[in-house]
């Protein structure tokens, strides 16, 4: 685990170096564009968390083994943290570039709705004490939340294409040096994701052991 954290730290230092000293300053947006190198990997890893939660939720319902519940819960929690950062950085980017804190751009809107769905998941988790019930309900929620993603994205995009388009978010011309910096940042975030995931889930397993021990003590 410690190794994973050290690797991520190293990758991050290298990514920051590339972002600030290697990749050129974008000509139109200026220096704010450098948010992008960390905004996009945040969004990717957030989405990846929900994918993991979806798969682990399915596996839980099939196998009914508590480890899948622990994996699923851990990745949702990480996903919500990452999505929060996506929304904040997106907003800080939108303000100087498009002159608003918030645009109902399909990607931003999708992130917001995802945040709502999985924050509801976390509330659901807090509200149930009985373990098998909590695991099952949370697995179901992780599945229907993820199944909703394509529809959410489609509706957000349709909504915009009917209204006049003010801003275009996906027309960033990328030079090779920019792509390299982005790629490294991507690696750094995925390695951080696995570090967080390991720490978070090992906490879940510890809790399970504690419950087990408590039961044994009670029996005596």
């Amino acid at each position: 685990m410690r190794k994973l954290i050290i690797i991520s730290a190293g990758l991050f230092l290298a990514a920051i170096y590339l972002v600030f000293f290697y990749a050129p300053v974008e000509s139109v947006m200026g220096i704010v564009q450098k948010i992008f190198y960390f905004h996009l990997p945040l969004a990717f890893t957030a989405f990846f968390s929900y994918l993991v939660a979806f798969v682990c939720g399915l596996l839980y319902l099939v196998k009914k083994e508590s480890k899948w519940d622990i994996y699923s819960a851990g990745s949702v929690e990480i996903g919500v943290v990452l999505t929060t950062l996506v929304l904040i950085t997106g907003s800080l980017w939108a303000r100087p570039i498009w002159n608003t804190w918030w645009t109902w751009d399909p990607r931003l809107t999708t992130s917001l709705i995802l945040w709502l769905i999985y924050a509801a998941y976390l509330i659901l988790r807090m509200s149930i004490e009985q373990e098998s019930k909590r695991a099952t309900f949370c697995a179901v929620m992780a599945i229907i939340g993820f199944v909703d993603v394509p529809i959410v994205f489609m509706s957000a995009r349709l909504w915009r294409s009917i209204h006049p388009v003010v801003v275009k978010s996906n027309s960033i011309a990328m030079e090779p040096s920019m792509k390299l910096a982005l790629l490294l940042a991507m690696f750094a975030f995925f390695s951080l994701w696995f570090a967080l995931f390991r720490i978070r889930t090992s906490g879940g397993f510890l809790l399970e052991k504690i419950k087990h021990l408590e039961n044994r003590i009670m029996e005596k």
Partner: protein, 223 residues
């Protein structure tokens, strides 16, 4: 199918005998229509660009109240255990509960939609068939997910606000698409202008009917 029919009859009999759930639903929907008119200062003539939103807000809120009841009396006396012990399959329970919810929603809409047109002075002449299509598409999607989520929320004793908290975020695209197509319809646009929204609603219905149907068994066994 026969089993499902049996549950539908039982539930409808109970609800119509007690009536209070249906009355509360209708009353609350009407209340939302009135409050929204006063709160937005619209007065008697409403711009078609916001009318769709107002109509659906009232219907969705009243439908959530009805949804809350779907599993309520099963849980009160642990009747659900009896249902699960009986040879009735979970799939039939799902279909039956969804049908009961659909019937409730349709009753509420038959009363609330005309009230909306009266209170907000809207015209619908000749576009009624299309409105019915939109309404039914929403009803299907809403009651598919709604039945699943309601089965979950009724099993949570610690927090009785779980139903709207879990349901609304998932429903956002369905509500957005329905509001959009209703607004276009009331504004006098042709079907071509909002057919994409109708396809989206249809896709939502298909995906969520399928997944709710499959997932329901797991939920009801834990409930």
């Amino acid at each position: 199918m026969k089993q499902a029919w049996f549950i539908i009859k039982k539930d409808l009999m109970i609800e119509f005998r007690k009536k209070e759930a249906l009355m509360s639903m209708l009353f609350f929907g009407f209340l939302v229509l009135v409050i929204l008119n006063i709160a937005t200062g619209i007065g008697s003539k409403v711009a078609s660009s916001v009318s769709g939103g107002i109509l659906w807000l009232a219907i969705i809120f009243s439908a959530v109240l009805g949804l809350d009841r779907i599993f309520a009396h099963e849980n009160e006396n642990r009747c659900i255990d009896g249902l699960l012990l009986s040879p009735i399959e979970p799939e039939s329970i799902f279909l039956a509960k969804m049908a009961v919810n659909l019937i409730f929603m349709i009753i509420a809409e038959v009363i609330l939609i005309p009230l909306f047109f009266i209170l907000y002075n809207n015209e619908i002449s000749g576009r009624l068939p299309m409105l019915i299509v939109i309404v039914m598409l929403l009803n299907l999607g809403f009651s598919s997910v709604g039945t699943l989520v309601s089965a979950m929320s009724s099993g949570i004793k610690k927090n009785d606000m779980m139903l709207p908290i879990l349901l609304f975020p998932v429903l956002i695209p369905l509500i957005a698409a329905t509001v959009k197509s209703t607004t276009e319809l009331l504004g006098g646009a042709g079907v071509a202008k909002y057919s994409q929204w109708l396809y989206l609603t249809g896709a939502f219905d298909l995906i969520f009917f399928g997944s709710s149907y499959l997932l329901f068994e797991h939920v009801i066994k834990e409930g």
